[in-house]
Symmetry: C2
Subunit: 196 residues, 2 copies
Amino acid sequence: MSDATKARKAALRKKLIELAEAQIAAEGLSSLRARGLAKEAGCAVGAIYTHFTDLDALVLEVNGRTFRRLGSSVAASVAAAADQPPRDRLIAMSHAYLHFAAEHAFLWRALFDVEMSADGPVPQWYLDALGGLFSYIAAPLAELFPDMPEHELDLLTRALFSSVHGIVLLGLEKRISGVPLAQIEQMIAQVLSRVQ
Amino acid sequence: MSDATKARKAALRKKLIELAEAQIAAEGLSSLRARGLAKEAGCAVGAIYTHFTDLDALVLEVNGRTFRRLGSSVAASVAAAADQPPRDRLIAMSHAYLHFAAEHAFLWRALFDVEMSADGPVPQWYLDALGGLFSYIAAPLAELFPDMPEHELDLLTRALFSSVHGIVLLGLEKRISGVPLAQIEQMIAQVLSRVQ
């Protein structure tokens, strides 16, 4: 393959990921279609499948980008709250999670929705990204509960991540619970500040 | 309309709801198609729309049935734990919620997934059913926190329902967190027993 062909292929691959990301961000994962994507990219539908096994594989690339942005956003909140007591840091990072989810609602949902429908193994980078989010929570929890056995701390980390995720998910689902962002923030703080 | 026609129409409506329920239970909400449903019911596709505005309206009927079964299941756990302290009752009903979700995974997910895609107003029975679930949680919480202002109690009720929902959702999502049921039970108990 000539360098020019390689560069053209790499450019199309990048373009497809960016177009898929824009489509998911605008109208959600379920609106993504190979035909529409090919049309926008100016390529044949078949060309998509020379770059990705299937649409799920393309969505996983988009999710990788989303996860990195989510990670940066949570990391920034952790850094900004570095001087605060562990409980306040937990609340600050959870609020950052909420705000990311609210601002990038469809991209954030795609992180979780694609996993349900796909059948293959979870890519390592996905598990690493999730592990990274868990470790932000585990650090302040270990300060709050210095005597807690590691196994229990792991479980509590997952449980609290899932709790915050549930509050964000149902909170943003306006038709079900219909609460403003400030109230979702309050619910998160209420649960996290009461865990003893 | 003759009585025979009325009875035939009512029978078809019931049959469509039952077939849709079986399809969602077996393969999930996203597998539901008007064409497949009509074929199974032995009617024209158009006949479906004389009974329901659209497929979402049919799914809402299925969800109504699911919500009633979920409600009965949680109510039974509350009744069985009536003599126990409030915190144990909270844990018992949350475990009942988990087991219902695990046994009827696709039907349970449809309760939440259809809401995202639909645009109309939420039916009153849906809000009532959700309110019913909330009231099971609010009662033991009011015993645990007798001095908590009502507004805060409402918020904590929603926050804890969402927390349990999040733990169940991500816990059952095997590809993401991959934990056995007993461990999901533990996570629920861990959070609920630590809320002070």
